[in-house]
């Protein structure tokens, strides 16, 4: 893998991250926000794989596994919160749960 490949993949990773961020910003549904979060996390995951490959360093793959674990736990906790919130408020609109402000 050459340096320019690495840059290309890094740009892709950053693009994934940006898409995820945009998803969180653009979607009001909580479920979609959680999905967008997964997309955002996949960006760095890709980055670690690519960088690990470039430097021939297994640590990159180790980081990849950690990121995946995190993504899974985040989604698990997030889904639990989502269910509880929807039962309590009857909506999945994240804009609607804005009781804490000021």
């Amino acid at each position: 893998m050459t340096g320019s490949d690495l840059i290309g993949i890094m740009i892709l990773a950053a693009g994934l991250f940006a898409i995820g961020v945009f998803g969180v910003l653009a979607r009001r549904g909580m479920l979609f926000q959680l999905v967008a979060l997964e997309v955002a996390l996949s960006g760095p995951a890709l980055g670690f794989i690519a960088a690990g490959a470039y430097h021939a360093d297994p640590e990159g793959q180790g980081m990849f596994i950690l990121v995946l674990t995190l993504a899974a736990t985040e989604v698990a906790v997030g889904l639990a919160l989502f269910l509880r919130l929807r039962r309590l408020t009857g909506t999945d609109d994240s804009d609607a749960i804005s009781g804490l402000k000021g």
Binding site: V21, V24, L25, A26, R28, Q33, S94, D95, I97, S98, G99, L100, K101, G102
Partner: protein, 689 residues
């Protein structure tokens, strides 16, 4: 006997301390006894001191040191002088003081006990302060006494404190003299810094060494201070209103002693003024101006005390004139004689008006000759002395000495003499105007006679002195170091004729009162007599405006309470219209026609008095615009409001920033994204090369 000198003021001071500070109830008789005794004792103590002068102890420059304080910063030498000057003035003060207090023991006897006690306490304090002024041989003691008598004057003028006018008059006197005192203090400080000592003799010894460019301002400041205390033009306005005090106060403070303190000071610092001739000339000019104007204004007065006040002003003008011309001895002799006859006039006028039901209007004295013969005749003697009837009165001798000094004072002597002689004519006129009115018949003679030893003794003694004291004038002048000036016969004769002319004029005026009224009416349109109004307009009003605007009185709790009450519908009289500094009037909306009206509205009483005088009005308009401009710049709301604006700005910022905290997770995430973007931009910008 010199060692007795420092103890002369002590009884008076003790009297004050006992009467005012010792919280023990005293009976009426005890208060009077204490108060009068504390004033008589100094006279008794002074007697041996005065006698020792005959033995020749009192020479110029004789000083009794009291103590010297090394403050670490400078050495303050407190001392009393035993020179002829202080002996003459001191003798006069103790004599007049004792007599006036004896008199007031009877005059004030019917006042409520607390007021009586306060009266005697302050009178005693005044006497102590006055003695400090006359005996002081150093500026510290001098200024101590100087300010003390100023404060006592305020307290005594405001004695009838339930009358707002009395308190206002007292404040006016105190503030006006304080303005002058500040000048005096400045002058004394500069003199002190140049001479390096607080002793007056040391200061005077240093005078020749002082650069004339420095000496002139020093002399100027000191002269202003002295003139202010002595109610000379342009500080004269406080004296007539000071007559709101009780009559003995007017007799002691505002005729005989306190107002003459300036004269004493000028006489004591005569070498200083001799070294600053231009300032001396100014002093002389102001003196003659006051003498003439005072006499003229006295002529049209309808109140006997006011008349005497203007007369005091005028007579002190004569003394100041003499001082300005470099004849302190003459001025001092006139001071002594004037003190005697002026207090005599006040005391006897007090008796007469007492018999007339307390009114001090000249008209109400009509018939006093039959009701109060003793008082009337002593008044007549006093008036004769004031007018300076030739040969038989003391006043003639001292005034002649002044006129002679004027005549022989160089190229300007003759015109000045003419002016002074005119003033003398007017003096005779106004003095005898009262006498003639009091001597006339009236239907109502039923008022009770009033007298007693406490009244008779002072009147008699003062009358005697006012008649025979003239014989001592020559000796006095010699004693205080002046030379008898031999004037040509013509001015002497003319000078003698002046009072007689005045008496004739008075006769005429009393016979035809309408002429006097016409004169009074005409004089009211002459601008110089509107001085009082201008003074009020330019200083008092302006000051009040500045103070109110600066003071931001709306912020105070009391006003806030009043506003709250008014909101509830309760009428609060003191809110806007009764603003203590009187700026409510400007709130009134009137029809505004032209600039002048606009600039002068709300000032009705004052402006009306200047109406028909375009120059005066223009001046006022300019002054008002000028001050308004500056006051607007100076508004303290701005200092405070700027600070509070900062606080308010922070509050607004809080409300603004707070709105970013919307509670929506998308908005919050947006901030995170923006933060990331910002940091990335920063990283991009700084790693670009």
């Amino acid at each position: 006997m010199a060692h007795l000198l420092p103890f002369v003021p002590v009884p008076a001071l003790l009297g004050f301390v006992i009467l005012s500070l010792v919280p023990v109830p005293l009976s009426r008789a005890a208060v009077i006894a204490l108060g009068v005794g504390a004033a008589v004792l100094p006279a008794i103590l002074f007697f041996p001191v005065g006698l020792s002068c005959i033995e020749g102890v009192c020479v110029a420059g004789a000083v009794v040191p009291i103590l010297s304080i090394d403050t670490g910063v400078f050495v303050a030498q407190i001392a009393m002088s035993m020179d002829p000057l202080s002996m003459v003035t001191g003798g006069t003060v103790v004599l007049v003081g004792a007599l006036v207090l004896i008199y007031s023991g009877a005059y004030m006897a019917s006042e409520p006990l607390p007021d009586l006690r306060r009266f005697f306490a302050v009178m005693n304090l005044f006497l102590a302060g006055m003695l400090a002024v006359v005996f002081a041989a150093d500026v510290i003691l001098l200024f101590l006494g100087w300010e003390t008598i100023g404060l006592c004057s305020f307290m005594l003028i405001a004695f009838y404190d339930k009358l707002p006018k009395a308190v206002a008059s007292g404040r006016k006197a105190l503030i006006t003299t304080r303005v002058a005192d500040s000048f005096l203090l400045a002058g004394l400080m500069m003199l002190f810094l140049n001479a390096g000592t607080t002793r007056l003799d040391g200061m005077l010894a240093a005078v020749p060494g002082i650069d004339p460019w420095r000496l002139a301002p020093i002399a100027f400041l000191i002269a202003l201070g002295a003139l202010g205390k002595s109610a000379q033009f342009p500080f004269h306005t406080w004296l007539p209103s000071a007559m709101a005090g009780p009559t003995p106060v007017s007799a002691l403070l505002h005729s005989a002693t306190m107002v003459a303190a300036g004269v004493i000071l000028l006489a004591r610092l005569a070498p200083l003024f001799a070294a600053a001739p231009e300032i001396s000339a100014m002093v002389a000019m102001l003196g003659i101006l006051t003498a003439a104007l005072g006499a003229l204004v006295a002529l049209i007065q309808t109140d006997v005390k006011k008349l005497l006040a203007f007369s005091t002003m005028s007579q002190i003008g004569f003394m100041v004139l003499a001082l300005g011309l470099g004849a302190p001895a003459v001025a001092l002799s006139h001071f002594a004689i004037h003190a005697v006859f002026k207090s005599l006039l006040f005391l006897s006028a007090g008796v007469m008006s007492h018999a007339a039901g307390g009114s001090t209007a000249i008209e109400s004295l009509r018939g006093s000759r039959y009701r109060q013969p003793l008082a009337f005749w002593s008044f007549a003697v006093g008036a004769a002395s004031l007018a300076g009837l030739p040969v038989i009165t003391a006043g003639w001798y001292s005034k002649e000495a002044v006129l002679a000094a004027v005549w022989s004072s160089g190229p300007w002597g003759v015109p000045l003499w003419l002016l002074a002689a005119t003033a003398a004519v007017l003096t005779g006129a106004y003095a005898f105007r009262v006498v003639f009115v009091a001597a006339s018949q009236t239907a109502d003679l039923a008022a009770p006679a009033w007298g007693g030893l406490a009244v008779v003794v002072p009147l008699t003694v003062l009358t005697l002195v006012a008649v025979i004291g003239g014989l001592s004038v020559g000796a006095l002048i010699q004693f205080t170091g002046g030379a008898t000036v031999h004037t040509p016969l013509l001015p002497t004769l003319l000078g003698a004729a002046a009072p007689i002319l005045g008496v004739l004029l008075a006769r005429q005026l009393v016979k035809h009162p309408q002429e006097l009224e016409a004169l009074a009416k005409r004089m009211r349109h002459v601008r110089i007599f509107r001085f009082e109004v201008l003074y009020y307009y330019y200083f008092v009003r302006r000051f009040r405006r500045v103070a109110t605007v600066l003071g931001n009185a709306e912020g105070t709790e009391a006003v806030a309470d009043a506003v709250a009450l008014r909101r509830e519908g309760v009428d609060v009289p003191g809110l806007v219209t009764d603003d203590p500094l009187g700026r409510g009037a400007s709130q009134v909306r009137g029809i505004r026609t032209d600039l002048i009206t606009r600039a002068t509205d709300g000032q009705t009483p004052v402006v009306r008095m200047v109406a028909g005088d375009p120059v005066g009005r223009l001046l006022i308009v300019v002054a008002r615009l000028f001050v308004g401009f500056f006051v607007a710049r100076f508004n303290p709301d701005r200092i405070d409001r700027a600070w509070m604006g900062l606080a308010g700005g922070a509050g607004h910022a809080w409300a603004l920033v707070r709105r970013t905290q919307t509670g929506r997770v998308r908005d919050h995430s947006l901030w995170i994204a923006l933060g990331c973007a910002g940091l990335l931009l920063f990283a991009w910008g700084t790693s670009w090369r």
